[in-house]
Symmetry: C2
DNA sequence: CGATATGTTGAACGTGCTCAAGTTTAGTGG
DNA sequence: CCACTAAACTTGAGCACGTTCAACATATCG
């Protein structure tokens, strides 16, 4: 099952790449009013959707692929604040200027909503307003969770937490292939580590039979209990 | 000027400890409807306001003092997700259960709003709804900012960022006394460092004439430009 | 198939942590 | 009000985790 991208329900990818709902987007089913007013835009791998500091003109909903929200510093450091998967909204949290840069991890399709329209719709339709509010809450919870991870967990704990988060969001079980779309550098920048440390941790976990890496950017959780045991007090 | 607690407008504390608005609470002036339905509660230093995992029965607004929102782990680690100052709302971000523990840093007064009432009021009154939404956005922005700090800044950069944040929220200038209310351990748990590292960094900055510590839990910024220069590329 | 991205592994180093002893401050009771 | 006590803060020395730099291996794409 794919962690993101075109969400396929079967293990073997028999369905065409379309806009099937992911586990997550189903939780917050978008009201039909919202569906009507957007237009579809595509971005190639590593393309910028919007830059930090730009004036906000639109918000987006991810249709397929993975978007990374990040901040870059002059001296080349990058911190990824989060990934947005199909069904997720981007840009609703800010007013005035975008406070993060949004980039396509791999090829991405999004729906673009003009902010003026969205704000008006949000005023008029309670269902749209509630939908946006629910997403805002979810984003805040995710940010707080992420923050705690960065503040007081070891490298191994972070990688374990990341993998479990991946599994939960993709709704997979032990043995299922997860197409995470992310390279080592993206994972590292999300976890506040270097790509070497991430690589070493993956190798270590593979050696212990906890995970497997069948392909690049893919991962299989082989032993969920052992992975969960890594979450706390493992150095 | 006090960073929090009873916010005094003059440098010399001639005004009585009362509920004067801070720079921050004035930004989001609460509508009168909200003021009417709460009741005032006090908590002593280190008392718990609510625990992570408890069912949500109420939300709170800080009147005086500082509240820390934190998560504790079995093995004794603590990460502070944020501090809430007079005017700030606590608990609006969650549904179902509290996801953080809220504790009084020093003596604290809050207004307690029954959640059922608040939700109803939020439905009926657009001004209350907008007020809550604005706070939610602000909390998300703060969490993202915090997250980036923890992910890719050195100890010195974190302390500098913390002090500048303090100064901005208290609305003080160079030379003003900031009553931060926080001990070294609280600062450390907020910054994802140890109290020793925080102490060393304060000592270092004092030696360089950038800050001064006239009293415990107080700080004075002596050289704002130098402090700002610390924000990036200082190891 | 060759070229380039991406990932792996190794060795040395450094920042911040741990453990420990000493110092200062604030709070309490005589 | 001062002395005493406990808590908070400072400072030092050694250590460990994760980083840095570098070489090599392995996918992926033209």
């Amino acid at each position: 099952m794919s962690f993101s991208g075109q969400a396929l329900r079967s293990i073997r990818p028999v369905l065409p790449p379309s806009m099937l709902p992911t586990a997550r987007s189903m939780e917050f089913d978008a009201p039909p009013e919202l569906e009507a007013v957007g237009n579809v835009v595509s971005f190639a791998r590593n393309e910028t959707i919007f830059d930090e500091g730009e004036e906000i003109t639109a918000s987006y909903k991810v249709v397929s692929g993975v978007v990374r929200l990040c901040r870059l510093t002059e001296d080349g450091r990058r911190q990824i604040a989060g990934f947005r998967l199909p069904g997720d909204l981007i840009g609703m949290e800010w007013t005035g200027e975008y406070e993060m840069t949004a980039e396509a991890v791999r090829d991405v399709t999004v729906v673009r909503y003009a902010r003026t329209r969205l704000d008006r719709l949000s005023e008029e339709r309670p269902s749209v307003r509630d939908h946006v509010l629910a997403h805002l809450r979810q984003d805040l919870r995710a940010a707080q969770e992420h923050l705690i991870m960065l503040g007081c967990q070891s490298a191994t704990e972070r990688v374990a937490a990341f993998l479990l988060q991946l599994a939960r969001r993709a709704g997979v079980r032990e043995g299922d292939d997860i197409d995470m779309q992310l390279g080592r550098q993206d994972i590292a920048d999300y976890l506040g580590l270097t790509l070497e440390t991430v690589s070493r941790t993956f190798s270590e976990m593979t050696a212990r039979g906890i995970i497997a890496s069948p392909k690049r950017r893919h991962v299989v959780i082989k032993n969920m209990p052992k992975l969960k045991a890594y979450m706390r007090s493992t150095n």
